[in-house]
Symmetry: C2
Subunit: 139 residues, 2 copies
């Protein structure tokens, strides 16, 4: 079945399985647009009226602690969440607010033990105007 996929992911990471955790995980997997906590909450609330926003935050918290989701602070005003994800960078369009993935080839931002700091996360944040907005198609 389908729910088995996310059950497995949680189990493999030693995270207790709950319906709320499964739903958030599934939403992030199926909606790769770097949603906010509120985006997730509002959407899931429709089929799950008892869902609490606190729970969404709690779930996102634990998922990020276990490295299943990445927290993006690129927008400055709210956190955005990215499912699992191979290493890639992000571009924030200051016109439409969308965050798009950027894949930079041959750019190793990782692996630099600069001055003895222990690096655990690497983020490349670009800002500007996205292609669609440049063409006048933007949101």
């Amino acid at each position: 079945m389908d729910t088995g996929k996310y059950t497995g992911i949680l189990r493999e990471n030693g995270i207790k399985v709950t319906p709320q955790r499964l739903e958030v995980l599934r939403f992030l997997d199926e909606n790769r647009v770097h949603p906010t906590a509120d985006d997730i909450y509002r959407t899931l609330k429709k089929d799950n009226p008892s869902l609490s926003k606190t729970t969404v935050y709690n779930v996102l918290d634990i998922l990020s602690k276990y490295g299943l989701v990445e927290v993006l602070t690129i927008s400055g005003t709210e956190s955005r969440y990215d499912y699992g994800s191979t290493r890639h960078q992000h571009f924030l369009c200051t016109s439409c607010g969308r965050i798009v993935d950027i894949h930079i080839k041959g750019l190793c931002m990782d692996c630099m033990p600069e001055k003895g700091h222990k690096v655990e996360e690497v983020h490349g944040y670009f800002k500007g105007t996205c292609r669609d907005c440049l063409k006048g198609i933007g949101a």
Copy 2:
């Protein structure tokens, strides 16, 4: 004199000169620790009791619009401000909260017209544990 330095910087950019703007600019120049708006406010308030926090935000706003300061969103919870500055990257220590400059040689994160997006800002954000905290000296 000394205040002339910042007066000149503002004039060159066509920004009207006010005591508040001079003070914020001087503070950022002399305190290169990526302070928050509140850090700036609390410090300047001592010698300038009538200073309003709104003014600090307004000044930081205009300075960033003219490219005189860079706004960092690395911490996620609050903006940090960086004076003028040549191109460099930032490392956030998740233990002590300090943001330290990282200078990566030969790494050009700039100049990539990826997929037609117009890139206006480039930020390299690293997170982890800083050297001092690793040694147990951390704040």
